[in-house]
Amino acid sequence: MGAAVLVAAAAWLSLLVGTQPITPADLVAALADPAAGSSAVVLHLRLPRTAAGLLAGAGLGLAGAVAQGLTRNPLAGPEVLGVNGGAAFAAVVAISLVGVGPLGGYVWFCFAGAVLALAAVLAIATTGRGGATPVKIAMAGAAVSALLFSLTSAIVLRNHDLFERFRFWLVGSLTRADLPTVLQATPFLAAGAVLALALARPLDAAALGDDTARSIGARPAVVRGLAVVAIVVLAGTATAVAGPVGFVGLVVPHAARMLTGPAHVRVLPLSALLGALVLLMADVAGRVVLRPEEVQVGVTAAVLGAPVFLYLVRRRRVAWP
């Protein structure tokens, strides 16, 4: 409950704060009368931006919680698994080489890129003795991400217009979100969220280990397959909307578990709420810290998230296989 109230407050702030401040009265007036001239900022900038932040943040938080449940790895997150990098690379390919238009066209490419990157990371991390340890997953993810980043740069740097269009998106940014994008993204995120929430109990069972899970009637292979689908849809759509934003999906589930304990029935919904909260607040903070200029949400998210990652690395004493 408390988290939902906080998200609402963050959304409220996100609507009001910006280079052109808006009073609550303006906001109400704009929403009541969309035709009025003064409502342009609210309707065309703040509202889509806030909605995009809510969607992308919830998607990343959920994807991170599922990823950590799936791999039983405290350092898993969409970005650590290479999913964001894969989705971003595929989006750039789609727009530069194939020439597809807005989100509706390239979101499928994002899914495909996310699947390929995730499959590569998991396959590499699972190979060798010791299985997919946290360190191997993180390193495989870092290597795959580095490769995808440099291939993405290679495409973008060869084309001036593309470079101008992508240099903000590739950092992770909500500024370009418009209403059609948000509307197109919503069904994908809703489907991903439903799938993720349906996996809550199976993920709890999987946490007991494959043998125990099987003995109480769960089917680990099916659960893993569905979890991968959920991660890809959620993180792929979030990347299509906001660019490759890091650390939200990694950090948020930890906060959720600290608040509720390990049961996924509570961790998953709370991760969605906290993800939305963190991304919105990071975006609002980015609008305020260097006024009148804006800091992209991908940057503020990294600045807030990387120290938490470092803290987790130290506290968990992650062991090499």
Binding site: V135, M139, L147, A154, V171, A302, R314, W320
Partner: protein, 341 residues
């Protein structure tokens, strides 16, 4: 088979296989670089290049060869040599083939420092070099401080490096979004690594790093062998091993920083060059000369391929080294974990 050279108090173990590989790698690297000087929008026979270098060129050939293509070729060779050496030192100290300056955040720190100088200060080569050095030292110090608290296990170093790399990259990309179109494009290559458009100040930058770093590493090679035995044995055999290790890490950071200042973070060279040498020589200890030669060859070949494969477009050399190097890292990851169980 080993021979030992002595000059006063300094003695140097020389392994013929290592010297042979070093000579072959350098010869190949120089050949590639020389060929690269002959190709371009204005192709030029080798004889003309050599005449121009000897001082018998026209104004035009002088401009193309000496002003334009030679610094690019030299920066590629020297940067490759620097990165190869830095990678070898770090891998042997950490006793872990996955540890390289890129992986532990030094390269990202250096490029963030360089981007700060380019975008915020709009500075020339010396200031960019200073920025890269500062960024590299700051990243190395951060990684060291955080990882040391956890008992300094090799893999904690790597994970902390991933976090610090993300922070440094965020800082650099942030600056990119705030700069104008032209500066942004220029700075973007600093996130990938490129030797195109390098000029003589860049050559001097990386040469200065090598002039200080290479002799330091050479003098301390003996300690590398000790450090590879593990901390306890090393300390028992030589009480001042801590100082030697600090000096080695400092030279690796310095070599990486000035190479990055000259050409951006050309990825995975520091990781791959020592591995190639280790595999060819079938020994754990990669020698200094071959590692530098293989590093130079890797960068020179990557730059040539980046120019020729996609002509008339050019790619940054760092894209090719990443495309080749990332799979090598992944292969090593699988191999190493298989061996260590």
């Amino acid at each position: 088979m080993t021979a030992t050279l002595r000059a006063g108090r300094v003695s140097l173990r020389v392994e013929p296989a290592s010297v042979l590989l070093g000579a072959a790698a350098w010869a190949a690297a120089l050949a590639v670089a020389l060929y690269a000087v002959t190709v371009g929008d204005y192709p030029m026979p080798l004889s003309t290049v050599l005449d121009t270098l000897a001082g018998d060129g026209t104004l035009l050939t002088y401009d193309v060869v000496v002003r334009n293509r030679l610094p690019r070729a030299l920066v590629g060779l020297l940067v490759g040599a620097s990165l190869g050496m830095a990678g070898m030192v770090l891998q042997r100290i950490a006793r872990n083939p996955l540890v390289s300056p890129d992986v532990i955040g030094v390269g990202a720190g250096a490029s963030a420092g360089a981007v700060v100088m380019i975008v915020v200060v709009g500075a020339g080569a010396p200031a960019v070099a200073a920025g890269a050095l500062t960024g590299a030292v700051a990243a190395a110090a951060t990684v060291y401080a955080i990882a040391a608290r956890g008992g300094f296990r090799g893999y904690q170093l790597v994970l902390v490096g991933i976090g610090v790399t993300a922070l440094a990259n965020a800082a650099a990309s942030f600056l990119l979004t705030r700069s104008d179109r032209y500066a942004a494009k220029q700075a973007a290559t600093w996130l990938v690594g490129d030797v195109a458009g390098r000029s003589w100040p860049d050559v001097l930058t990386v040469a200065a790093g090598l002039a200080v770093g290479a002799p330091m590493v050479l003098l301390l090679t003996r300690h590398l062998r000790l450090l590879e035995l593990g901390d306890d044995i090393a300390r028992a055999l030589d009480g001042r091993i801590g100082t030697a290790r600090a000096a080695l890490v400092a030279s690796a950071v310095g070599l990486t920083a000035l190479a990055t200042a000259a050409a951006g973070p050309i990825g995975f060279v520091a990781l791959v060059a020592p591995q190639i040498v280790r595999r060819v020589l079938a020994t754990q200890a990669a020698g200094l000369l071959p590692v530098a030669g293989v590093g130079a060859l890797v960068v020179a070949a990557a730059d040539l391929a980046a120019r020729r494969l996609f002509s008339p477009d050019e790619l940054p050399a760092g894209v090719l080294t990443a495309a080749v190097g990332a799979p090598v890292l992944l292969y090593l990851l699988v191999r190493v974990s298989r061996r260590n169980g």
